[in-house]
């Protein structure tokens, strides 16, 4: 067993900070609403002299443009759950701890090409989500957490991958890293026991009597003397994520940065589940229960954050937002099984089909539906019905009629007809025809026309027809372009 612990010490702060592109002084306040105190302060606030434990009012006096956000513990819990969902792409054994995650990775090492590569993928991935985590690596989950917490506090530790090395690596760590109750730690400190090695050296019977069997059991699990099974986190079957923006975002460009982070998180979640989405709802919250909903749907199952962002960007570009945005919500109700496409050196027919589907989606996202379409033959002799928009593609593969023009006019255009015949930038000479098309009497839109191919003096060739009921009425219907 090999465990990697992810410790996110300033999670409340990071959750707010990751939605903003440029850093600004920020604190998280908690405690009574009359006199909130600073629970977390970011680097910009610290530079102004703000410290944890200070009253928020005092902090505001120190930094003029300080932003204070109330702590939201349920949001932190949600964020950890989503992070666990994201981490499922690296291993199925992910469990949630009070301020981080632990991952069992021994079985994933081969897939990711060794521990070093896996760790760098984890570090890079967490950074792309806009979070900061310290990593601890050890053969037991408690030791991994202790290592990660030690790194957070600036205590140098070396990761440990083999059980025999563990006691030596743990020996010098201070006991306060273990999250024991404050009373236990004080008692131990009074006895002069501040390091793990001192606690491990104490007689077991006396230790259990004095500090309770739970403390002893924890010490055993830490050192690997007792098993420490963990229940893997089971993420919900649908995906929901919400990101509150620290400041009101005007316009669409300001939303793209936080949206990218939301989509990266979703991509990790979907990868962990072997899933993709075909429909995705993006809600832009404007406050006062008003929101703008953007429905994204794809031709195939998708999960790549970059592609989804490109589609969302085009769709957002066409929106006019009624008010500044204060939050983003991403909802995917249905997760579909996703078969990853193999990358090939020379793209085959399938890759081309995917490339075409993506092009169509990209174009339709910006231009709007109905502006991008295909063409197919339809079983009707009436020229205006001789084509149609797929997807209802007809199986009819060949056309066996007479000469047909490359362009068909949307609706026939009436021609000026002189005494000598129809004209279009000069007198039209009939080149071929007539081809009589008389059909459609059964569905209320009968046509009864004689079609001719006609050319004007400049050599422009047209497809024109004459109404049989009104021989003087000539119409232009196509162009032999």
């Amino acid at each position: 067993m090999l465990w990697v612990a992810l410790e996110l010490p300033a999670l409340p702060l990071q959750l707010v900070e990751r939605a903003q592109a440029a850093p600004m002084p920020l604190v998280i306040g908690e405690g009574p609403s009359q006199r909130p105190i600073v629970a977390f302060a970011n680097a910009a606030a610290r530079q102004a002299g703000v410290r944890e434990g200070m009253a928020v009012a005092a902090a505001k006096a120190l930094a003029g443009d300080l932003k204070c956000i109330d702590r939201d513990e349920s949001a932190e819990r949600d964020a950890l759950e989503r992070l666990a969902g994201w981490a499922a792409q690296y291993t199925p054994a992910v469990s949630i701890e009070p301020s981080g995650l632990v991952l069992e990775v021994a079985s994933s090492l081969k897939l990711f090409g060794g521990l070093a590569k896996l760790l760098s993928a984890l570090r890079g991935g967490v950074r792309a989500l806009g979070l900061q985590a310290t990593l601890g690596i050890a053969p037991t989950p408690l030791a991994a957490r202790a290592f990660a917490r030690a790194e957070t506090r600036g205590i140098p530790v070396r990761s440990c991958t083999a059980m025999p090395d563990l006691p030596a690596r743990l020996a010098d760590l201070p006991l306060f890293l273990l999250e024991w109750p404050g009373r236990t730690l004080e008692l131990l400190a009074d006895l002069g026991i501040v390091r793990v090695k001192d606690a491990l050296a104490l007689p077991r019977g006396g230790f259990s009597q004095r500090f309770g069997p739970e403390a002893l059991a924890m010490l055993d699990r830490l050192a690997g003397r007792a098993p420490d099974p963990r229940l893997a986190h089971v993420p919900p079957a649908r995906y929901r994520a919400r990101l509150e923006l620290p400041a009101e975002a005007e316009g669409v460009e300001a939303i793209l940065f936080p949206l990218k982070r939301l989509l990266a998180e979703m991509e990790g979640y979907l990868r962990g589940h072997g899933a993709g989405v075909q429909e995705l709802d993006l809600d832009l919250e404007h406050g006062l229960k008003r929101h703008t909903r953007l429905a994204l749907s794809f031709a195939t199952k998708e999960r790549e954050a970059e592609f989804i962002l490109a589609i969302a960007r085009e769709k957002l570009g066409r929106l006019v937002l009624p008010a500044p945005t204060i939050g983003l919500r991403l909802v995917a109700e249905r997760l579909l099984p996703f078969a990853p496409r193999e990358g090939t050196w020379l793209p085959g027919r399938e890759e081309r089909a995917v490339g075409r589907a993506r092009l169509i989606e990209r174009l339709a996202a910006r231009l709007g539906p109905g502006r991008v379409f295909g063409i197919a033959l339809a079983d009707d002799h009436r020229p205006e019905r001789g084509w149609k928009n797929p997807p209802a593609a007809s199986p009819r593969a060949a056309f066996d009629g007479g000469a047909r023009p490359a362009w068909l006019l949307n609706r026939p255009q009436k021609l000026v007809a002189g005494a000598a015949g129809p004209t279009l930038q000069g007198a039209l000479a009939l080149v071929a025809g007539p081809e009589r098309i008389e059909t459609g009497w059964w569905d209320g839109e009968p046509v009864s026309r004689d079609y001719y191919v006609a050319a004007n003096p400049a050599g422009e060739t047209y497809w024109i027809y004459r109404e049989r009921r009104d021989p003087a009425a000539w119409y232009l219907h196509g162009v032999f372009a």
Binding site: V372, A376, W387, A403, L408, A427, E460, A481
Partner: protein, 243 residues
């Protein structure tokens, strides 16, 4: 001293660029002989200059469209003046399921769509009609996109555009004379082809001796006099373009 003409993309004036990758056969042997690479270029911008419609300027490309569609790549029609008519494409052998028609509402969307379609690499050929005032920078960008996506890009413009410089490697001037399509190449990788080639487009109705033999109409035959053909002075035009 190394002969500079041995580098790809370098050729002597008066000779054709022989290092061009093989083109897409146009279906017209006479035209293929004159096109560098023996056909339409596979990843480059081509300008087709024509005045008026109905000369066969689009049908000229049907052979190439058929070839790229059969290779499994799409054929995109961006901002066409009218609807590409399925029966005509089907009779020319162009697979209809490869066709993709884009009708953008605004001029800048047309440019953007052409750029996207070229860059994606999913299309074997992209045919587009752009607003008249499209500037050189945009055309240059489309030329780059065609190279990046390895796509045949065809821009249709009026002949009045021939006075402007173009980043396209191939410029085709299409005119009509005596029932045949005449193709001149005022710009190519090689000496300009000022003397046009006459091409007969399959499926394009050609006017024979005396027009139509009979008029089947409600009121009997209607005599339609033949107007004399206005023949353009193509040679003069072409020399102005290449000057």
């Amino acid at each position: 001293m190394v002969d500079p003409a041995r580098f790809p993309g370098v050729w002597r004036a008066g000779e054709m660029d022989r290092a061009m990758p093989a083109g897409i056969p146009s279906g017209h042997a006479r035209l293929d002989m004159e096109l560098p690479g023996g056909g339409w270029p596979r990843s480059s911008l081509v300008e087709i200059l024509h005045d008026g419609a109905g000369l066969g300027e689009v049908s000229l490309l049907f052979g190439a469209l058929k070839t790229v569609a059969e290779e499994g790549r799409a054929v995109a029609w961006i901002n066409p003046p009218h609807l590409p008519y399925a029966p005509a494409l089907a009779s020319a052998g162009v697979p209809l399921d490869a066709c993709l028609v884009v009708r953008p509402a605004a001029a800048e969307d047309a440019l953007w769509s052409a750029d996207q379609a070229l860059r994606s690499g999913a299309c074997g050929a992209v045919l587009f009609w752009l607003p008249a005032k499209t500037d050189y920078a945009w055309l240059r960008r489309l030329q780059m996109a065609a190279e990046a996506g390895r796509t045949l890009a065809v821009l249709f413009r009026p002949t009045s555009a021939s006075v402007h410089a173009t980043p396209a490697h191939l410029r085709v001037l299409v005119t009509h004379r005596a029932g045949l399509l005449h193709v001149a190449l005022p710009k190519r990788r090689g000496p300009p082809l000022a003397h046009p080639i006459a091409i007969r487009i399959a499926g394009h109705p050609v006017r024979h001796g005396g027009g139509c033999s009979s008029f089947a109409g409600g009121t009997g035959p209607v005599p339609i006099p033949r107007a004399p053909l206005a023949v353009r002075d193509i040679a003069r035009h072409a020399s102005r373009v290449s000057a």
